[in-house]
């Protein structure tokens, strides 16, 4: 019986070694994936200070982004103040001396990432 168990053990070890080709689940890294476990940050100035000022919002990701130009739709919560020119570029159309918060949104095919930019006009003495 001991001989049988030894032989079975040897056979089992061999087979376990052969069965090691089990692979982990794929990581969800694509920012266009609503369930992606990726951290996306929009980089932009905190505030604008003059009408006609242009700002550029860029995307920073904890994972590599897909290569090539991405089909991101850029929007603004108040296009009257800050309007999107596409490709992450925004133009200040209007501003008051009171700084108002405007949310800039990067729409990754339904997955939204946002950041608040304060739009205002600096009072010159």
């Amino acid at each position: 019986m001991r001989r049988l168990l030894r032989s079975l053990g040897l056979a089992a070890i061999t087979v376990v070694a052969g069965a090691c080709d089990l692979r982990e689940p794929f990581p969800r890294t694509n920012p266009f994936d609503p369930d992606a476990e990726v951290e996306i940050t929009l980089l932009a100035p905190d505030s604008t200070h003059a009408v006609g000022e242009r700002i550029t919002v860029t995307v920073q990701s904890s994972m590599p982004l897909p290569p090539g130009p991405l089909a991101i739709t850029w929007r603004s919560s108040n296009p009257g103040l800050l309007t999107s020119l596409g490709n992450g570029d925004y133009l200040v159309l209007n501003a008051t001396t009171t700084y108002l918060p405007v949310t800039v949104v990067a729409d990754f095919a339904g997955t939204l990432y946002s950041r608040v930019v304060y739009v205002g006009r600096r009072v010159t003495p």
Binding site: S7, A11, A19, R23, P25, F32, D33, F108
Partner: protein, 546 residues
């Protein structure tokens, strides 16, 4: 005793005996040349005599009655030819098929298919043309051979083989029938053993009842019964089954149709009467002595244990107990449920030993051959009586009686199916396991590749196209899951093949140990093994006896 399929063994008769047998067959040939059927007088429809028991048959009626009351112990056999069929019935089979309820069951089973009314069913089941013959032959151990025409288009509607055989034993056939055809009628039949005509002790004829669509009819077609001495089914002196043929004539053709009775049937019929033969051992005053009794483990089955105790008493010198031992053991094996295989083997070998001690080597050989068929690697201990050992060698069929070392099997299992391939006669299974394992791994690899491809699409997805990232990921991950499951399945098949190969060989080795040196006194069983030997100056194999 197992009335199962048997393989033929090579005849081991000395050349002289074969020449004598050939000469006897040639001399007998003119005597047994076919006679035209119309030359012979038709067989009677009523028994022309009653078979009275001779001195060798005293007590048979009581014995068969006791057996019939206990169980349906007889097996019947159907042999089919081109135009005719034979039903071979031992006395116990006649008793087993006797109840009207079986014939009723057969016709009831066919009632719907053949559109038969209830009253007609009752009438058909009541037909029993052989009651008088069976009664006349009841006191003698005779084998009944029923010769029937084949059904033209048989209906498999009899609610079981037992019911079907019961109907056939009464000459009742089921199925659609055409008009009477003389060439399908049965006019005469005879049995030949090894080419020699053997007379029936009682014979008769009866009409065939053809149960066709809408009712039963007797159109003049006959069927026959031959009651024969069971010795006609005895094995030859060499232990092989006799060549038994039945020649059947129709009313017009001079040439018979020859139906060979299969060897398995010949042996099974003979063996069914061995329990009765065992009861006769020693009745004629013959005293047997077991010079070298078998020693087998005491069975747990109560009837076999009683027989075993009687055998042990016989071995100690109580010769009268020996016959009881064989009779008790063999009669027990007629009934279900059967004891464990090991106990059956021990009982059959003890019975064979008893038959051999009484000089009935044919019966002993028949039992030993049956045991050797189930255990072809069985060897007797040197202390066992020489006649039994010789029988064992005569009956031995080719088999693998060695075991492959288990570590070697495990090592070979590194290749899927390799361990299975190591043991002979399992190459097909080994190839199947290899193909299944490799196939599963290849499939897993291909599925992994597909999953990787889909994931690459997911990673590169830039929001412009369909399908979107979510579905792309699901597709890739599903493929990976499938690939992993397939890998596990492949490993499972691999593990199974390795484990099964080791387990199978371990069982084989255990079975070999179990049948090596059978019959040795307790504690005295010797096992021989060949082991590698490496010593200074020499290397080779050493025979070790432990």
């Amino acid at each position: 005793m197992r009335p199962g399929p048997r393989s033929s063994r090579p005849a081991c008769a000395p050349a002289g005996a074969r020449v004598v047998a050939l000469a006897a067959a040639l001399l007998a040939a003119p005597l047994v040349s076919p006679l035209a059927a119309q030359d012979a007088a038709p067989l009677p429809e009523r028994p022309d005599s009653v078979l009275t028991p001779g001195t060798r048959h005293a007590g048979f009626l009581e014995w068969r009655t006791r057996v019939a009351e206990r169980a349906r112990a007889g097996a019947s056999f159907l042999v089919q030819g081109a135009r005719y069929q034979l039903l071979v019935l031992s006395p116990m089979a006649v008793d087993a098929l006797r109840p009207d309820s079986l014939a009723l069951k057969a016709t009831r089973g066919c009632q719907k298919a053949l559109r038969i009314g209830d009253l007609e069913v009752e009438r058909i089941a009541a037909l029993d043309p052989w009651a008088a013959f069976d009664s006349a032959a009841r006191a003698r151990p005779v084998v009944a051979l029923v010769v029937l025409p084949l059904e033209e288009r048989p209906y498999d509607c009899h609610a079981g083989n037992l019911a079907r055989f019961a109907a056939l034993s009464r000459g009742t056939l089921h199925g659609p029938f055409g008009a009477y055809v003389r060439t399908r009628d049965v006019a005469r039949a005879e049995l030949r053993r090894d080419g020699l005509l053997e007379p029936a002790v009682l014979a008769g004829r009866a009409p065939v009842t053809k149960v066709g669509i809408d009712g039963a009819a007797q159109d003049g077609t006959q069927h026959l019964r031959l009651y024969l001495e069971p010795e006609l089914f005895a094995p030859t002196a060499e232990g092989t089954a006799a060549r038994v043929e039945v020649h059947v004539w129709n009313p017009i053709d001079p040439e018979p149709e020859i139906l060979p009775v299969p060897e398995q049937v010949v042996r099974a019929v003979w063996q069914q009467l061995l329990p009765w033969r065992a009861t006769l051992l020693g009745d004629d005053g013959q005293v047997a002595r077991l010079a070298a009794p078998l020693v087998v483990a005491a069975p747990r089955d109560s009837a076999l244990l009683a027989a075993h105790r009687a055998y042990e008493a016989g071995a100690r010198g109580d010769a009268s107990a020996l016959g009881d031992a064989a009779a008790g053991a063999l009669e027990r094996l007629m009934y279900r449920s059967l004891p464990p295989r090991r106990e059956i083997r021990g009982a059959m070998l003890e019975a064979a030993s008893v038959f051999s001690a009484f000089g009935e080597d044919e019966a002993a050989m028949s039992l030993v051959a049956d045991v050797m068929e189930a255990y072809p690697c069985l060897t007797f201990a040197p202390t066992v009586q020489p006649s039994l050992r010789e029988m064992g060698e005569l009956a031995r069929t080719p088999a693998r009686c060695t075991a492959v070392p288990l570590p070697w099997i495990a090592l070979r299992s590194i290749v899927p199916g390799g361990g299975t391939w190591t043991t002979p006669q399992r190459r097909g299974l080994a190839l199947t396991l290899f193909a299944a394992t490799v196939g599963a791994y290849l499939l897993a690899g291909a599925t992994h590749d597909f999953a990787d491809g889909e994931y690459a699409k997911y990673v590169a997805y830039d929001g412009r196209t369909e399908p979107r990232a979510g579905p792309l990921y699901k597709r890739a991950q599903s493929a990976r899951t499938i690939a992993n499951v397939t890998t596990i399945a492949a490993a499972g098949i691999w593990a199974f093949s390795a484990g099964e190969a080791v387990w199978h060989e371990w069982e084989h080795a255990r079975a070999l140990r179990d049948v090596r040196g059978v019959g040795a006194p307790r504690g005295g069983r010797r096992a021989a093994s060949v082991i590698p030997l490496v010593a200074p100056g020499r290397a080779g194999l050493a025979l070790s006896i432990r």
